[in-house]
Every structure is written in structure tokens, then in C-alpha cells.
């Protein structure tokens, strides 16, 4: 994202803030509990379009932004990376229209007729199979909450908002057929240790996945948040690889080939590392969390009560605990988890806090059910004996703690050094 567009986004944000402040002032003057009584001028007239498919209020303007240093769409109409406005989310499900989008190198979105789409399973199997979408929908299905996070979801000190630091993760309710059901139907042969999952888009994006993972919990999904998967997310079929980094979740899925070894395909090349530790940390998302309110770019109107809110997730399983610190990581308190945490899904947390008006720093950290603990950047640097005079570098996928600094004027700022 260029600095110009950031400036204009910032201006837009400020304008909206001013409008909200004005509305609040009017409400206070009127001393009205309802604030506004609907009159003929403020009623929405029904239209066939709104009857058929609803839309949000014109007063709700939350939106995704291009991310990763390149425009989306670019001058050719390719989308690259698009970040979700985490600061505006409630609960754990990312609205489908706001789900983040990541592509390998910038991509057109395929416009696929589902009636013509096929899924082929072949390679080291006894019964190669081709399925239509209707056939897949007849098979036993599962519906599960899972997050998807891009490996490039890496905060840096230049980022202002949580949308910029963490907006390349989203969580949806996915519906489809377990990949294990399809692989058992095809009959995996001895030595079939990996699969290559491939999409239908122009680069035929393909990812290699170990058979242990493929059989464990991967899902061939046709449903997302109660609707067919959206085109930007892989319509009509997307492979969900719970807890795996985003690029493994192959969109526009049309082929699964059972093979004997890691195939180092187009998408896999990005995983190539010299250091085995680096390689191990780049495949599965680590324990991670972030406070979305208050977060960077927001402003606290004054001392008093605030419900600190955020999201936690881990590729290792369920979120077991989330802790919050209001003193820059010196002391930690348990946050409240919303609902029953689901494996490899965003979990919402909250923490009741009274701000005394003094400068402070908010942090959160996630502890997952297998005991992995989200680290600070300093802890990572010390673990790997990184030079103390250089900024810490988090190996693999960055799951480090996000610090938000609150100034005495109520301004909230990214505190990554």
C-alpha cells in the first residue's frame, strides 16, 4: 500500500470519526433515548434486489484494503493481497465479503460454471475418481469453523492499524466433504505419502501436503458461511487445511494427485529453506493473538472503563487461554474467552479494564491446547541468539505479540520497536 493511499485512508477515517462525534453531540442535545424516530425520509423503500439479497446499512463503511506493497486491483485487474478490517469485526466469523484474499503473485479470479466443474483424484490410488459438484454434495459432509492466515501476515513498525498488522487472517464456517472420505473412496496405495492439490486458475496453483495432514482434517469445501464459497475464495471448491498457512488452502480446486514425495510445486517453492527450523516453522501457524480494540489508529476519549477485545488462534489446535497485559508485558491476567474454542479457529476474548489516563502498553498472548505460548519479539530473538543490536526477526510465520501503546491523549499506536 502506497503512502498516498494510506494518507487518503487516514483522511477518510478522520472524516468518519468527525461525523460520528457530531452525531453523538446531537444525540446528547436532544436527550433522546431513541436518537432518531424513523420518518418517511429515513426509510428504505423495498426493492426486488433487496428482497432477493440484503445489504448492509449505508452508514456501515468498513472495508478491506490492498496490502503487501502492491495495488489490488492493479492496472491489469489482478488482485494481489487484500486485508480484512479486524478492528470492525464482532465475534469470530469474518463476513464473507470482508474475508482476506491472498494470491501467489497477483491473480485474476476464475469465473467458473459449477455445472462444468470437476474434481479429479488420481495418482497412487486404486480407483481414480472424477466428481461433479452435485456428487460431492451427496457425500457425508462436515461444517467447521476454521481460520485461514497468510504466511505474510507479519506486522512491522510502519504499520498503523490492526488491519495492516494482522488483516491477512480471517475465520469462516466451512462446509464440505472430508478429504479423507474422498481419499478412502479412491483407495490410497502404499507409498502415497503426499498429495498435490491444484487449482484451475491461470497458474494452476498447486500445493503439496503430507498424507498425515490430508487424512487428519482437511476438507474439500463448497460452503462458506452458509453460502457457496465466493469466487475470491475459490468458488466452487476450496481445500481447507486447518491450521496450515494460507497458500495450502488451494482455491478453485480441481485435482488431487496422490504422490510419493514432496513435489516442490509452484506454490511450494516459497517454503524452501536452508535451515530445518525455519522450514518447520513456516508450515503450521503458531499460537497467535491480537487486541483489536483498542488498536492502532483508534482514540480513547478519556479515562474510564473499556472492554479490551481481541482474537486468538493457533494452528496447533484449540486456544486454551489468552492473557492480557496492560503494562507492556510485565504482568499478565487471564482474558475471558467467548464461547467454546474450536480447533484451528479464531477465538474471541475480552478483558475488563479501567484506564487511569496514564500512558501504558496493551498486549495479548495466546496459549494453545498443546502448550505452545505466543512469544514476544524479544523472546524469539533470545531463543535464536540473534544479535541484540539488531531488530528481532521472527523465523517462519510471525506469531509474535503485538504491543499497542496508549498515550496520555488517548491515542493508540503500534509499539513495535
Amino acid at each position: 500500500m502506497g503512502s498516498d493511499s494510506r494518507k487518503s485512508d487516514r483522511r477518510e477515517f478522520l472524516k468518519q470519526g468527525a461525523a460520528l462525534a457530531g452525531a453523538a453531540a446531537l444525540g446528547a442535545t436532544a436527550k433522546s433515548a431513541s436518537g432518531q424516530l424513523p420518518g418517511p425520509e429515513s426509510q428504505l423503500r423495498g426493492t426486488p434486489e433487496l428482497v432477493a439479497y440484503g445489504k448492509r446499512s449505508r452508514f456501515v463503511t468498513s472495508k478491506r484494503i490492498p496490502h503487501g506493497g502492491r495495488p489490488s486491483p492493479d492496472s491489469f485487474g489482478l488482485d494481489f493481497h487484500i486485508a480484512t478490517p479486524l478492528q470492525d469485526h464482532f465475534g469470530v466469523i469474518t463476513p464473507t465479503s470482508l474475508h482476506y484474499v491472498g494470491t501467489t503473485r497477483g491473480s485474476f479470479v476464475p469465473d467458473i460454471d459449477p455445472a462444468k466443474h470437476r474434481l479429479m483424484i488420481h495418482g497412487m490410488v486404486d480407483n481414480p475418481l472424477v466428481f461433479t459438484l452435485d456428487e460431492l454434495k451427496r457425500l457425508p459432509s462436515v461444517t467447521r469453523l476454521h481460520f485461514i492466515e497468510c504466511a505474510g501476515n507479519r506486522a512491522n513498525r510502519r504499520h498503523v492499524t490492526v488491519q495492516e498488522t494482522h488483516g491477512m487472517t480471517s475465520c469462516a464456517e466451512w462446509t464440505g466433504v472430508l478429504l479423507s472420505t474422498l481419499l478412502e473412496e479412491a483407495g490410497v496405495q502404499d507409498g502415497g505419502n503426499w498429495i498435490v492439490a491444484e487449482g484451475v486458475e491461470e497458474v494452476k496453483g498447486a500445493s503439496s501436503i503430507p498424507m498425515t495432514k490430508a487424512m487428519a482434517d482437511c476438507i474439500v469445501c463448497y460452503g462458506m458461511n452458509g453460502e457457496p464459497v465466493r469466487p475470491q475464495q475459490g468458488f466452487p471448491l476450496r481445500l481447507i487445511v486447518p491450521g496450515g498457512e494460507g497458500i495450502l488452502h488451494v482455491k478453485w480446486l480441481r485435482r488431487i494427485k496422490v504422490v510419493d514425495q514432496f513435489y516442490m510445486t509452484y506454490n511450494d517453492y516459497g517454503h524452501l529453506r536452508q535451515d530445518p527450523a525455519d522450514a518447520a516453522l513456516s508450515l503450521q501457524i503458531g499460537p497467535k493473538s491480537v487486541i483489536t480494540y483498542p488498536s492502532g489508529g483508534q482514540h480513547l476519549p478519556g479515562p474510564g472503563f473499556y472492554e479490551v477485545r481481541g482474537l486468538a488462534w493457533s494452528g496447533g489446535g484449540k486456544v486454551a487461554r489468552v492473557e492480557v497485559s496492560t503494562d507492556g508485558g510485565q504482568s499478565w491476567f487471564d482474558a475471558d474467552l467467548r464461547g467454546e474454542p474450536q480447533p484451528m479457529a479464531h477465538t474471541a476474548f475480552s478483558f475488563n479494564w479501567t484506564w487511569d489516563g496514564q500512558p501504558c502498553e496493551l498486549q495479548s498472548r495466546c496459549i494453545d491446547e498443546i502448550g505452545q505460548i505466543q512469544p514476544s519479539r524479544q523472546q524469539v530473538a533470545e531463543f535464536w541468539d540473534q544479535p541484540a543490536d539488531q531488530p528481532p526477526r521472527v523465523k517462519g510465520q510471525d506469531n509474535s505479540i503485538q504491543p499497542w501503546r496508549i498515550d496520555s491523549d488517548g491515542g493508540v499506536h503500534n509499539a513495535i520497536a
Binding site: 480407483n127 472424477v130 473412496e185 494452476k204 498425515t212 516442490m264 524452501l272 536452508q274
Partner: protein
Amino acid sequence: MPLLKFLLPLLMLLGVSAQAQSPTYGLGRAPTAEEIAAWDIAISPITGEELPAGSGTANLGSELFLSKGCAGCHGTDGEGRMAPRLMKRDIAQPDDPWQWGRILPIRSPYAPVVWDYINRGMPLGAEGTLTPDEVYSLTAFLLWVNGVIDDDQMELNEENLPKIQMPNRDNWAELPEWLPGQPRLKGYPY
């Protein structure tokens, strides 16, 4: 795998493939050998076993690099412009190939990976239009630019491409087996 490749069409012809292990749900149908061949572009990186027959040279590849528009984005010699650099960087200590940069035709441990990348993803906007011979020539050109092969007249084909000794052949980290419910890295608390 080689056995499978030859047996598969035969098995389908005889209609016995479905008897090997009986499916539970009986949905879907067996693809024909032609259908599989039309879609199967995945190439085994080590054996290159699925590589199609064909051949090319760096000399031919250098012309294709211009005529197919590669140079417009990657630079005339692959020095990189709008698209990534494809020529290794000059560095003080040339012993460590990882210091040459994240450059596919020199960092990849196996030459068929380079072939696969070009075959799938290039040229931008005209993916899938290159013939196997053209992909062999472009692969040869990029290997020649990076000093992996010395002779720009050397013919690369489905037989000798997998045998090319890439500098990182034994110098990369295997991915860990991904066991559900296990930490990412043993002994790593985070």
C-alpha cells in the same frame, strides 16, 4: 510410480481398477487415461518422471526469452524489472548458493522445478501456451544464465533435465512430517 504410469491405462481398459478396493459410496466415475493426461501437469522434482518428451537449448531459449516477452518484465538477461530477478547476484563469498538470492533457476534443488514453474505460470497472461520444446529451451537459458550449464548448445530433454546437478541439490531443509496435535518444532516453546 513408473509401474503405475504404464499399468493405469491397461487397468482401466480391462475395467478392473474398481475392484482393487471397493468404494463405500459409489459416487463419481473413473476418469479416462486421456482425461488424466490432459490435466496432470505435476512433475516429480527428483525423477522428473512426468516430464513430456521434448528438447531445447539455451541458445534457442535466449531468443524465446525476447520473443515471448519474458525480457520485458524480467530484464534482457533476467536481471529483474517488474518481475523477479532470474539471474544470481554477484556476491563476495560465492560458495554459498543461498547467498545468491531467492532466484528460482539457481536456488531450486532440482531442475524439473524450474521447468514446472515456467510451464504452469508463464508467460503472464498467456499461461499454458508454451510448447514442451519451448519450456525446455527457456529452462536451459535460465540454467545457462546462472552458470549451471556451460554450453548454450547443450540439448536438454526429459531424460537429462532431472540429472542436472543444481548447486542446492543436497543443501535444503526437508519439511517436517506434519502430525496433528504436535508442536511445529520439537523443543520450541512458541
